[in-house]
Symmetry: C2
Subunit: 156 residues, 2 copies
DNA sequence: TATTGTTATACTCTATAACTATA
DNA sequence: TATAGTTATAGAGTATAACAATA
């Protein structure tokens, strides 16, 4: 159990991760922004899957996932085939073109990250990855609690 | 210097921090979303300052900062007084009402975080904070490199 | 009736660019 | 001319709700 000042600092640090995200986004081509890129990455890493599972891995709503998926499907980077076992669902699979794009992005991002993080050891990055994964786990668990209650509002 | 697989994982982890950010946002009242809340927090922590300095601390554009500041100023949580030394700039200062709101938010968030992170030690949180700060530093430095170049685009 | 996926709508956060007022 | 701040516009990302098709 940590102290309150640590929590406040954590909230600030998490908010400020936005700068890093935007930095990473700028490495991506306009045609394939961060959301769609994450779709390609997960399909490559975990293999073909249904949309609902993809949404779980992305930790976002299925409606949003559906749009990202449409984006990459329209460009031929993935294909959607109807599941013969359950014709409601569609199987999402990376195409060779998608794999090519992904490899190109990975290479490009690696170069840029290697420059930005040249003083980070492999172990440093591994530790940060582990802590972020743990943080996410702590938040997806029983839920972070209810929405903030009543606020004494100053009239607009 | 870390390996490529670690970088790829880092990109995913950073993207996925969004879940945590949204979890934190849900703790906030509708009247004071995350952006404005960060303004209050920084003014409390660093004392009165100009908008341009606030934008630096938030690591966002001054135009965006200006809107967040207007949001909290309209609700009486901060006051903007013209700097007598330089009448172009305005001094931003937390009001007692703003301080009250902030304390209420801090208490509420601390409770929720204490529940979500009950198995994190003070040291764990401190380490994560330090690594996130370092990560941000690595990205604000000489710049993460140029935008992604040409993409062999599949016709839409 | 429940589930998979899609679409419509709205909100937050952000950047770029054009503008005002002051230095 | 340059700087502090504001506003207009646009884009990415998200959630909620309503909907279609299938189970």
């Amino acid at each position: 159990m940590a102290e309150q000042s640590q929590y406040a600092e954590l909230v600030r640090q998490v908010s400020a991760v936005g700068v890093v995200k935007r930095g990473l986004s700028r490495m991506l081509p306009a045609e394939c922004p961060a959301g769609p890129a994450a779709v390609l990455h997960l399909l490559d890493r975990h293999g073909e899957m249904q949309l609902i599972r993809l949404a779980e891995l992305l930790a976002i709503d299925t409606s949003v996932t559906s749009r990202h998926v449409s984006h990459v499907a329209e460009r031929g980077w993935i294909e959607r085939s109807t599941d013969p076992c359950d014709r409601r669902s569609r199987i999402l699979r990376l195409t060779p073109a998608g794999k090519e794009l992904l490899d190109r992005l990975a290479e490009h991002c690696t170069d840029a990250l290697a420059r930005a993080l040249d003083d980070w050891s492999d172990d440093d990055v591994g530790q940060l990855n582990a802590m972020l994964a743990r943080l996410r786990g702590s938040f997806s668990g029983p839920g972070p609690g209810p929405r903030h209650p009543e606020v004494t509002r100053t009239p607009a």
